[in-house]
Amino acid sequence: MQLTVEFGGGLELLCNSVKIHNINIETPKGAQQLAMRDLLVWVQNNLIKERPEMFIKGDTVRPGVLVLVNDCDWELSGQLDTTLEEKDVVVFISTLHGG
């Protein structure tokens, strides 16, 4: 599945300052669909190059990191349970960097 993953608000610094990543990701074996919880694991393993604690806390994003799926707040779509489809755009923005 092709997805676009974007980092903003300073999170791009954790992935070699690259903001936009076009990725190819497989739906986990046995699962019908790819959910945000799967994407988070993949992003952490494949895109985040340093200080993962700035991005992840426990099994979800660190508080203060905003997540949008197709420009919609993931708090409206079930957060980790949000399912993803071909060509979706997922944006992570840190609110924690300098005012």
């Binding site: 903003g8 608000g9 300073g10 610094l13 019908q32 669909q33 660190r62 508080p63 203060g64 905003l66 949008l68 799926v69 197709n70 420009d71 919609c72 707040d73 708090e75 409206l76 779509s77 079930g78 349970d81 949000t82 399912t83 489809e85 944006v91 923005i93 840190s94 609110t95 924690l96 960097h97 300098g98 005012g99």
Partner: protein, 357 residues
Amino acid sequence: MAESHAKVQKVGGGRLCCICNERRAALKRPKTLEQICRECFFAVFEEEIHQVIVENQLFNPGERIAIGASGGKDSTVLAYVLSELNRRHDYRLDLFLLSVDEGITGYRDDSLETVKRNEIQYGLPLKIVSYKDLYGWTMDEIVKIIGLKNNCTFCGVFRRQALDRGASLLKVDKLVTGHNADDIAETVLLNILRGDIARLSRCTAITTGEDGPIPRCKPFKYTYEKEIVMYAYFKRLDYFSTECIYSPNAYRGFAREFIKDLERIRPRAILDIIKSGENFRIATSTKMPEQGTCERCGYISSQKWCKACVLLEGLNRGLPKLGIGRTRVLDKDQKKDLKQSIGTKSIASKQCGSLDF
């Protein structure tokens, strides 16, 4: 079945905006938990700030107002929204951007580029004051001497004064800053953790320094950081987001994390902490420091010399640690020490990006 369920989840349950009932909801407001669309979000976000400005009488027609602009999200959104509201509601304010150049290579020079773009994008005149011009030292030079441990002491003390000096150069009536609700809740918490009673009572005031040369106010006092960032994202505002390379700031970082954890469980916690701070009263028996002026530079100070002058004296005499150590408050003579400790302790506890006014 699974398919349709997924689709429903995907578009936010296909949920409509609870304000207009027409468009698809784009975010959940932390303050109210409402689900609203982008357009309604812009409207309520701006309107609430307008209400705060009106209810607290932050400005008078004809005033010159400096916006403390760091190039970061808060001050960028503040500059954008204020110039918008100034037009829409005919505040008749003369707005200026005021930036401080601490002299931090690779951090401030980049963020100043953002402010310079904002100057053009929003049509607001920009004034930059530098540590080098004001104090004869850049932060880079200070860090070379003092190391990374206490540099935020300098950063915080110098920046506060630099903003005041820039504001008086611009001959403005007031200075507004982008401190948001999360910042203020964090400061309330920090002042409790530090036992800094004097600041605790001051830090929630929307306007401070009315007795001083230039009052400061915080139009974003009740505005959640999440909404500021969402607003900047949806409006595609151009801001700079890199951590100050000289700010380890562990204690403040810890308080911030705690606030953010609380927010996740109960978003209203941020407003409630601010409310606790507002309702806090100091017993009249607590002795507070008297305000005077610095004998050396004339800046407001409760001590003989202001904090910046103490720090500068240390730097210039090659004793950079001067004025940094925490003065110990002894049990025996606490009353006698209180006045002094408030003045001196605050130097040590002031952090980079300091929020205390």
